[in-house]
């Protein structure tokens, strides 16, 4: 009895002491130089509110970190807040009631009006309630070209995918790898996203990935995209690097003509002190269409039965979406802000292009938003297999894609 009393008393004292400042552990997988600098902006802004940001960075990529996060939440040891890619990665956790709704904060602060494009907030919405704070937008639809490589081969830097394909033989002759794709499965899947969005077009992209429309996969538009996929495999044959940044390094050094990669590749060019337009060229939508996709990161908040923690979580959510934090964070991260009403004046050329398209070009959903983790990884496995097996036909890819979409719908 006395023990119990003692316990209650001490808990009460600690709770009183912590009433002002709450320690909130935030887990994420941002550990590279630029990423860590970006997340420090959030930490600083949150600490300024009188609470304390306890950094829970998990080294490795998202695929290493997500299982750790999920098992902590399902295992009853939730953190204060955690990163996920917005979309379906955390959906089941929400459905199981393990995540808290941010609906009151979101409607109070009018998130539905300030977040642009609205589709990224919709990805946070489950049964009409908002469960996450989107913090950035990473477009995955970019082709990065090395100006050096084309100079060496004695040809002009291509303005779009078709010109790039024509230039490939000249690159090969000059001993340059035309297209470099790392061996990680998701990188191969980026190529598919790019050809579907740019060559089959955004409408087909939406039909295939959002609506999982099998007829669209069999349609003539996708036929063109599959053909381009075959071409990409030819251009990429001979590339045997693993990591995406090793591939980017080849583009930076002029050893490879180009790479299909998300806009985070920009960070690598920046570290190497390369200038957009002079040393490298960035083409959104393979240069064929002004299009960006809206993959990105979001923070989710596990349900914790502690009013102070709840208050601190709401505070953190407000900080993350505040204009100041959005600008500071996204400049360091090299991504685009989730609100249309802030201006990134310091943005470089490539990012400018992205922001302009985001403002008035075509925007499609990132695959993380529309496919389950299962479907996304299956697709990535299918694509890496395709790029590694010259004998695999595009029809097999088509069949595989249909199977994946059918299971997911």
């Amino acid at each position: 009895m006395s023990k119990k009393f003692f316990f209650t008393a001490t808990t009460a004292i600690f709770a009183l002491g912590a009433a002002q400042a709450k320690d909130v552990e935030v887990t994420h997988w941002w550990t590279s130089g630029g990423e860590a600098a970006a997340v420090a902006e959030f930490a600083e802004a949150f600490d300024a509110t009188g609470n304390k940001w306890v950094d829970g960075a998990i080294a490795g990529s998202g695929s290493t970190a997500r299982p750790v996060m999920v098992s902590r939440i399902t295992g009853g040891d939730p953190m204060g807040a955690t990163q996920f890619n917005h979309g379906q990665q955390a959906q089941e956790l929400v459905e199981a009631g393990l995540m808290r709704s941010l609906e009151n904060v979101a409607s109070e602060d009018g998130w539905r009006d300030i977040v642009h494009p609205s589709s990224i907030l919709e990805s946070c919405e489950i049964d009409g309630e908002i469960y996450c704070v989107p913090v950035n937008i990473h477009s995955q639809l970019w082709l990065w070209l090395s100006n050096d490589a084309f100079e060496k081969a004695g040809i002009e830097v291509p303005a779009d995918w078709n010109a790039f394909v024509e230039a490939a033989p000249a690159l090969r002759e000059a001993g340059i790898q035309p297209l470099v794709i790392g061996q990680q499965p998701w990188q191969a899947s980026l190529v598919l996203q790019n050809v579907v969005a740019a060559i089959a077009g955004p409408e087909t992209y939406t039909k295939v990935f959002n609506e999982k429309d099998v007829e669209a996969v069999n349609g003539p538009e996708m036929e063109k995209a599959f053909a381009a996929l075959g071409t990409a495999r030819e251009l990429a044959s001979g590339s045997n690097v693993q990591e995406w940044n090793q591939a980017t390094t080849m583009v930076i050094n002029g050893e490879a003509g180009g790479q299909v990669m998300g806009d985070w590749a920009q960070g690598e060019f920046a570290v190497a002190e390369k200038v957009a337009g002079e040393d490298y060229t960035c083409l959104p939508g393979l240069g064929l269409a002004d299009i960006v996709s809206t993959g990105g990161d979001a923070f989710y908040f596990p349900a914790i039965d502690d009013p102070e923690m709840t208050a601190a979580q709401e505070e953190l959510a407000r900080v993350m979406i505040s204009p100041e934090a959005q600008v500071a964070f996204n400049l360091k991260k090299g991504s685009m802000p989730v609100r249309g009403d802030v201006d990134l004046e310091a943005a470089n050329d490539c990012m400018r292009k992205g922001l302009d398209i985001l403002a008035d070009g075509t925007v499609v959903d990132g695959l993380d938003q529309v496919l389950s983790a299962d479907a996304g990884n299956q697709l990535a496995d299918l694509m890496i297999q395709f790029f590694n097996q010259p004998e695999m036909s595009v029809d097999e890819v088509k069949e595989g894609l249909i199977g994946i979409l059918e299971y997911d719908s």
Binding site: V70, L93, N240, A373, D374, N377, Q389, G403, Y407
Partner: protein
């Protein structure tokens, strides 16, 4: 042991009662963990469980999908290659090394330590070490090329067709010493009289080893076989550290497939289906063997 029809004695159930009571916790643990959880896994492999287990039955869909999945088929194929190579080479090399060490050589302790030492390293360390050794730009290939043989190519980890052999090399380096030590211990247990007898009969040493000693070492071989086979079926960390399944999906293994499905793809149902298949495969091998091994003895 004629005990079956001991009429006047108390029931067999109550014999050695204390020992049986003491074993109850272990029996319960074994029943719940091994049998109970295995059954649970099998049941949930028929559901569409995603990140969390859900009793949403979808029949054999997970299995259909499993056997249509290129990654799984490659995994199975790789396990067969890996298993066959491991069994053959670790036993052949292990036995030869044990026989050589058995020749009462000088510094036997030193050799034994050197050969067993890799076994003290974890698979993760082994994988990383061999990843570097087999790296064409820094490792073995570049050393040979530096000696002047410019066209020499040995890059198993970058070539999907032979990548499994790169993994096998690392696994053999790690595991052969262990087989050797087990067999050496067995060899030491062979009575000197046997050697004397075969020498008197003029049987050459290699024939004695092959036709007399090997059959006598049968229990030791079985022990080593069980341990090595268990290691083969669950191989995971070595592959993750050395190749992470690459290039492409050419060095995937079943245990990695199960992990990837359950934790990366958030598809528990599919992971359970795959692990059930692994269980079934092991059972198909173990049950007939156990029947022959133990069932036979009872009759004899």
């Amino acid at each position: 042991m004629a005990k079956a029809n001991g009429s006047g004695r108390p029931s067999r159930l109550f014999r050695n009662l204390n020992a049986k009571i003491a074993a109850i916790p272990m029996i319960l643990t074994a029943m719940v963990v091994f049998v109970g959880f295995s059954l649970w896994t099998v049941v949930y492999s028929f559901t569409k469980s995603g990140l969390l287990p859900r009793l949403d039955f979808i029949g054999l869909t997970q299995y259909e999908r499993l056997w249509n999945n290129a990654k799984w088929l490659v995994s199975i194929q790789n396990l067969v290659i890996f298993g066959a190579c491991m069994l053959i080479f670790s036993f052949v090399i292990g036995f030869v090394l044990a026989c050589l060490l058995d020749q009462k050589i000088r510094f036997e302790g030193v050799f034994r330590t050197i050969l067993l030492y890799p076994f003290a390293l974890s698979f993760v360390v082994t994988g990383v070490v061999w990843q570097w050794i087999l790296n064409p730009d820094f490792g073995f290939q570049s050393i040979v090329r530096a000696t002047g043989w410019e066209s020499f190519t040995f890059d198993p980890l970058n070539n999907g067709k032979i990548v499994m052999f790169g993994v096998v090399i690392a696994a053999l380096w790690q595991g052969t010493g262990f087989v050797m030590v087990l067999l050496l211990a067995g060899l030491r247990g062979i009575d000197d009289e046997i050697w004397k007898a075969t020498r008197i009969d003029g049987v050459p040493a290699w024939k004695t080893y092959l036709f007399v000693v090997v059959p006598m070492l049968r229990p030791v071989f079985i022990t080593a076989l069980v341990i090595v086979t268990a290691g083969i079926v669950k191989v995971y960390d070595l592959v993750v550290a050395q190749t992470n399944g690459g290039p492409g999906i050419s060095s995937e293994v079943p245990a990695k497939y199960v992990y990837d499905q359950m934790f990366l793809n958030q598809n528990l149902g599919q992971g359970f289906a795959a692990s059930t298949m692994m269980l079934v495969t092991v059972a198909i091998i173990i049950i007939p063997w156990a029947y022959l091994e133990f069932g036979g003895r009872k009759r004899g």
